[in-house]
């Protein structure tokens, strides 16, 4: 008898369950559409972009953890680090470190050079333009990515904010000892999060990008350290081939 009651009760529950779901689902689906893009979060990006573009000379360092997805979906993490020295509008030097290689990029406003110190190979191309253009063109033409490329694009038309389909404030968090506002965005196939220092001079301190095109969702995490009073001189941006260095053609992507 008891069993029969229990069975009846369970049957009733299982019958009722779909009804409950059917009732709640439309309400749940409607909520995000109402205010998917939080205007204050977009404004925070704008403010940060404006501040970034106003910085004339700075040094920024980053440590990155990236992920590779293997054939069966298992993920491997890897580490890399980079130092970037910048003098706007058109000088940049980046040093990139990974287990595979150390590489350097020099840009003095006239020429861009990629240098591999271990083998003393270098490739130089003529280029004029600001740092946003440098970042975009190097990537487009040669597949060369400058670390923290977004730093040079936020606050410019190359970082259109209307492509963001979802924006939210995720509260506050400390990165190191810096109090930061934490925002989360959805932009095309990528979900990304940024931690921006609070106050009148907003700087990004952490960036997380989740690639949604693979269901394993490989993610990169970049921590960002700032030095707004760097000691470097403009001469560091000019590349002079060291003794015994070999020039190598930089092959463009479209030249197959």
């Amino acid at each position: 008898m008891k069993y029969k009651l229990l069975a009846t009760a369970m049957l009733a529950l299982s019958l009722a369950a779909p009804g409950i779901q059917a009732q709640t689902a439309p309400a749940g689906a409607a909520t995000p559409a109402a205010n998917a893009v939080n205007p204050a979060s977009i404004q925070a990006l704008k403010d940060m972009g404006t501040h970034l573009q106003s910085l004339k000379r700075f040094k920024v360092s980053t440590t990155l953890t990236g992920e590779r997805v293997l054939a069966d979906g298992q993920k491997l993490q890897h580490s890399a680090a980079a130092d970037i020295e910048v003098a706007r509008p058109n000088m940049l030097r980046a040093r990139m470190f990974s287990s595979r290689a150390e590489r350097e990029i020099f840009y003095d406003g006239k020429q861009a050079t990629l240098f591999i110190p271990a083998q003393k190979y270098y490739s130089t191309v003529d280029f004029t333009g600001n740092l946003g253009e440098l970042v975009s063109k190097l990537e487009e033409r040669y597949g060369v990515e400058i670390p923290l490329a977004d730093l040079f694009l936020w606050g410019t038309p190359a970082a259109p904010l209307d492509k963001i389909s979802s924006a939210m404030n995720a509260g506050q968090d400390f990165i190191g000892t810096d109090l930061c506002d934490h925002y989360a965005f959805r932009q095309g196939d990528f979900d990304w999060q940024i931690w921006i220092t609070t106050g009148a001079k907003p700087l990004p301190r952490k960036l997380v990008i989740t690639n949604r095109t693979d269901d394993a969702r490989p993610q990169s995490v970049s921590l960002i350290e700032w030095n707004l009073k760097p000691a470097f001189k403009d001469s560091i941006f000019k590349f002079t081939p060291p003794k015994g260095a070999t020039a190598v053609e930089l092959r463009s992507l479209d030249k197959k």
Partner: protein
């Protein structure tokens, strides 16, 4: 300021610790011999001073990468053709099968699992295998921001102090 110096000093140390822990045999060859690994701020893995990562013991499965993470949200991301460039490097050959394009990307898709198996038995140039030196007469080529050695039809990618044989990047 003091704080950030300490951090800058700690980060590379931590990285070196991670690298030496994960890449089991850290290369024996330590150019310059001795010298004590970087005292001050220059502890980052500078060519010449620091040990080089050795990937000789790496499992072949680690070569079969189907996709990678992405490092920036804006560069070319919103414009059509390159939108998937970092994705599915083996299938979606927007880069001619080359690198994912990330500045951190020290990985080259050497082959799919099938190709690796197929190539075993060809002793000359097994894609995915590691060598210490490249043959004479190779030509360096800078593609996608990395320099490869092209030796006839065989391509080598520098990997720490060694080379791995890869599929042609383009």
């Amino acid at each position: 300021m003091k704080k950030s110096f300490t951090k800058l000093f700690l980060i590379p140390l931590a990285m070196i610790a991670v690298i030496s822990f994960s890449m089991v045999p850290v290369a024996d060859a330590r150019p310059g011999g001795g010298g004590g690994g970087g005292g001050g701020g220059g502890a980052r893995a500078h060519a010449g001073g620091a040990p080089k990562a050795n990937n000789g013991n790496r499992d072949v499965r680690t070569n079969n990468v189907r996709s990678t993470s992405t490092n920036n949200v804006n560069a070319n991301r919103n414009t059509n053709i390159n939108a998937n460039k970092n994705v599915n490097v083996n299938v979606n050959n927007n880069r001619g099968g080359c690198c994912g394009g990330g500045w951190d990307n020290d990985y080259h898709p050497v082959a799919t699992a099938v190709a690796v198996t197929a190539a075993v038995g060809v002793t000359a140039a097994v894609v995915g295998s590691m060598v210490n030196t490249v043959p004479a007469g190779c030509v360096p080529v800078n593609y996608g921001g990395y320099i490869y050695q092209q030796c006839g039809g065989t391509w080598y990618q520098p990997q720490g102090g060694q080379y791995v044989i890869i599929n042609p990047p383009y």
